[in-house]
Homo-oligomer: 240 residues x 2
DNA sequence: AAGTGGTCTAGACCACTAC
DNA sequence: TAGTGGTCTAGACCACTTA
């Protein structure tokens, strides 16, 4: 499979960045990279722009392109660099296997909040799925998801024990590529402490929001309660 | 002032989107826009790519370019839409006045971590500024900031009691437009509980990272500890 | 003055979607 | 098959930083 030029460059540069190959925290200039990889400067620029948008590097006009030191420092488990937004794909940690324990699986009428968030009518029923997620045997997150049955009619226990997003992509060619998320903290509840093995004074980190299909259709409302040590959300913010 | 071509296109399209000029939620195709604006297709693409990254539109290869209905319905879903990234500007809440109490203001040599994060030499001293932030008289955040003195030499007590970012923009024409942030939660320390009026089991939300000037120069490392009820970070995430 | 990233052009061909 | 966005090229010139 011939990979895209700009992705090859991205992957090669990322590899070299993590290998510490740019000790001065500075990348070669675009014209040199274009020579090195034997591609046009536009392709190099495409790769660098994407990496800058991901916060891996930043470009200083007139000076050069530099590595974001925080990017190397942060070994967060949660990042959105995978091929899709699915939790299963993104929570890979040092070779540990992600596991799923289904706590609840039912179909309910949508609350008013769900009607608003997912653009539903009162008669558009939704799956309510509660899952505990673990690395090997260490629980790290309780996930409550709501998915309209009109988008997928045939969810079952086997599917939701794996990655719903993967199933959608493979079986229905539906890709989840966008989301609006809120991140905040709360004291842990008794249920949190029991399931996530937290002490009395230890909190949960919460990430909740709406996931969208590629065409803009709201697909899922998700509420995720994390053991506080397992949620670190990194983001690059830019204005203007 | 001759504005950039792709920005003109962005602004024009945004204006038309909000005016409801694309009733079918669909933009003209790239080749048509290129004709309309009498520019190259690359420039149109540049504009559309930026708008897609902002969550304003969706591009579907093979189908066309579509408007994100949420963008029209709820403009406030996007954080950080002000003119800069300053805390003072962004933490406005229901007409309450933000106040600042300076807890610490000194100049120190940079730690190794700061040297790496802010690209400093060991002799590049930094301001260390600790401030308690309040709405009216309710404290909500403890902020510890480190700023290289080589970027601003004349900070004083009066300035840091207000908005440093505003001061920079007005007095030195330096705009802070980018940041790399991590958001996570921790149990509160004794100091947190005292300053933020938290109970034993209540946590802090933490936002920390680097703020950059428009030209890419790292300007400040900031560590912010929030009363958990006052940190809610909203973000739009998109892959591919 | 030299070097860097930014903008813009004109065009070719590819990959995917809809009909 | 026609139409859409995606990738890629080769090159020109501009804006900014550094020395």
């Amino acid at each position: 499979m011939a990979e895209l030029v700009y992705k090859q460059i991205m992957n090669d540069l990322k590899k070299k960045i993590f290998a510490g190959q740019f000790a001065d925290m500075r990348l070669p200039d675009e014209r040199t990279l274009s020579e090195t990889y034997q591609v046009s400067r536009s392709s190099v620029k495409h790769a660098l722009t994407k990496m800058a948008n991901d916060g891996i590097i930043f470009k200083k006009r007139g000076s050069g392109t530099f590595i974001n030191p925080l990017y190397i420092k942060n070994e967060s488990i949660f990042n959105y660099e995978g091929s899709n937004l699915g939790v299963t794909d993104n929570f890979q940690m040092h070779g540990k296997k992600p596991k799923v324990k289904v706590l609840n699986f039912e179909v309910i009428p949508p609350t008013e909040e769900l009607q608003r968030d997912l653009f539903l009518q009162p008669h558009d029923f939704v799956y309510k799925i509660i899952r505990l997620r673990l690395f090997d045997d260490v629980p790290f997150m309780i996930e409550t998801g709501y998915i309209p049955i009109k988008i997928v009619q045939n969810l079952n226990h086997t599917i939701i024990e794996g990655s719903i997003f993967n199933y959608l992509e493979k079986a229905h060619n539906l890709a989840v590529t966008k989301s609006f998320l809120s991140i905040y903290a709360e004291p842990s509840t008794g249920n949190d402490r029991e399931l996530l093995q937290l002490n009395e004074n230890e909190p949960v980190g919460i990430m909740e929001g709406i996931f969208f299909l590629d065409n803009g259709t709201p697909f899922e409302f998700s509420h995720m309660r994390f053991h506080y040590q397992y949620l670190k959300f990194n983001t690059f913010v830019s204005v203007q």
